[in-house]
Symmetry: C2
Subunit: 303 residues, 2 copies
């Protein structure tokens, strides 16, 4: 059996995202020791009992670590990095799992100063509705994308260390600039969350909300699934990426205004054209996902 790649990994936040990263590396034998820390000691104890982390620590535990992952709401990044900064040694690389990147980089520059080269920003594109240590899955990242938005200051070794850790969790690494990342995810993730919250919030505020929910069916259930996500996390993401999100919201509102005009004038042909283009684009997208999944299954079968 080969030696573990990492001697010590420190994870802040041992819920779904951070805990699944830790557990994947532990189960693959890629790390000797995982130290977890976080806001609630009770959560850390549960993660330890579940074998997700080996020991509990604090910000000073980053001293001597090979790799540190911050898996916390993005608004906490600066404070956490400030706490870690005095303990960060030259051989340690820090990364994060935040859903926004420009603000995280700004926070990291403010908190880390000269040590900024040691911070490689990242965003794993994976999740599920459940949260906390009990939701952790060793294969959560298997076949999923991780976007790294590396800084000009990062050494290629530091980037390779972060990329290698995620690859050992089964993920594929993609590289984008922070601006590209934030614009893309404003469109395909942050805006849909806001739209789902808006719909459920609008209906919940009605006098006849109970009757409306009574007749909501599976289409509504799927459409609003993401409105079950953490309000605190999505408040932070919305604020952190608000310029890109405002631009997406405006583009979407313009699209709704255009559909409203078609509806008002009972222009069935125009409506059907918009609906048909959307249906066809979605079918192509789903077909591409399924083809990629099959190709992956085929590759694995041939190993």
């Amino acid at each position: 059996m080969p030696l573990p790649t990492f001697d010590r990994i420190v994870v802040f936040g041992v819920g779904l995202i951070g805990g699944s990263f830790a557990l994947a590396l532990k189960q693959a034998g890629e790390v000797k020791q995982v130290i977890g820390f976080g806001r609630r000691v009770e959560t850390l104890q549960r993660a330890q009992a579940l074998g997700i982390i080996d020991t509990m620590g604090d910000a000073s535990s980053v001293a001597g670590a090979d790799l540190v992952l911050i898996a916390a709401p993005v608004a906490q990044t600066e404070m956490l990095l400030r706490e870690m900064q005095p303990h960060l040694q030259a051989g340690t690389v820090v990364t994060d799992a935040g859903s926004t990147k420009s603000d995280v980089i700004q926070a990291a520059r403010a908190a880390l100063g000269e040590k900024i080269a040691q911070f490689v920003p990242g965003h794993p594109i994976a999740g599920r509705e459940q949260n906390g240590p009990e939701a952790v899955l060793a294969d959560l990242y298997h076949g999923k994308k991780v976007v790294l938005t590396a800084l000009p200051e990062n050494s290629s070794d530091s980037i390779a260390r972060v990329a290698g850790a995620w690859e050992r969790c089964g993920a594929f690494i993609h590289y984008l600039s922070a601006e590209e990342h934030d614009a893309v995810f404003a469109a395909v993730s942050h805006l849909p969350h806001l739209l789902a919250y808006a719909l459920v919030g609008d209906i919940a505020s009605r006098q006849n909300a109970d009757r409306l929910f009574q007749y909501a069916a599976s289409g509504f259930r799927d459409f609003t699934r993401i409105a079950g996500s953490s309000p605190e996390m999505w408040r932070d993401i919305s604020l952190a990426n608000r310029q890109a999100l405002l631009a997406e919201l405006d583009a979407y509102t313009a699209q709704l205004a255009s559909l409203r005009t078609m509806l008002r004038s009972a222009d069935g042909a125009a409506l059907e054209q918009v609906y048909a283009r959307a249906q066809s684009a979605r079918q192509s997208w789903i077909a591409a996902i399924e083809a990629a999944e099959q190709a992956r299954a085929h590759e694995q079968g041939g190993d």
Copy 2:
């Protein structure tokens, strides 16, 4: 074994909705003969080969039927009823499965004239992504709601005949006025469809659409699932219920404008409040659904 409830049922449209109704009644031994008709003979042949219908017919086959179900895009209702009208005998009750009711009733009054008392409007709240005879499920309606928007002209016997057929498919009957029905479904079904089409259409129209779709993940997939629905069917529904849909679209656009103001002023507390109320309302709704499902499973277990 008791005698079948129905001697002859005629179904227009033998795909998912009409076919599942027919198959449920056949498998339960509640009908002697099911005649199917529709726009494409090839679809009827497949339905016959699959045992969903016994024979193929046409509009004149409604003569002597106990019950006729129209399962077609709502815009076709008037034309279909006009074709059937001369063949409708006094003992026959007609119902439909359209997602909108005010327009269907208007069409039925125009087409049936004095025979309007024989038409009991209905809407089964069930579906799945697949369509056509191959998608038919005998238990599609099991535990689902069917809304009847009975007319003042309907006799209680006619209403009972339609309700009884759906109950034998395992459904629960709810009664609403057509206006209530259309307002409720504009909010919880028709608007979400329009919103999902608008999002996918907006993204598909971008120059960097491929990159955007590349990073869309499971949240986007669920949010946009209903944008995979038939453009023709949803064009018809949007137009048929456009007054109520416009009102919902305006309420939703106002909600988005309010969220935009919070975002622009970086009012995290206000955003979080909206998100939290939506999350909590959704959680309560899901909990209520699950409790109802459990209660039902318990009842069945006790039978």
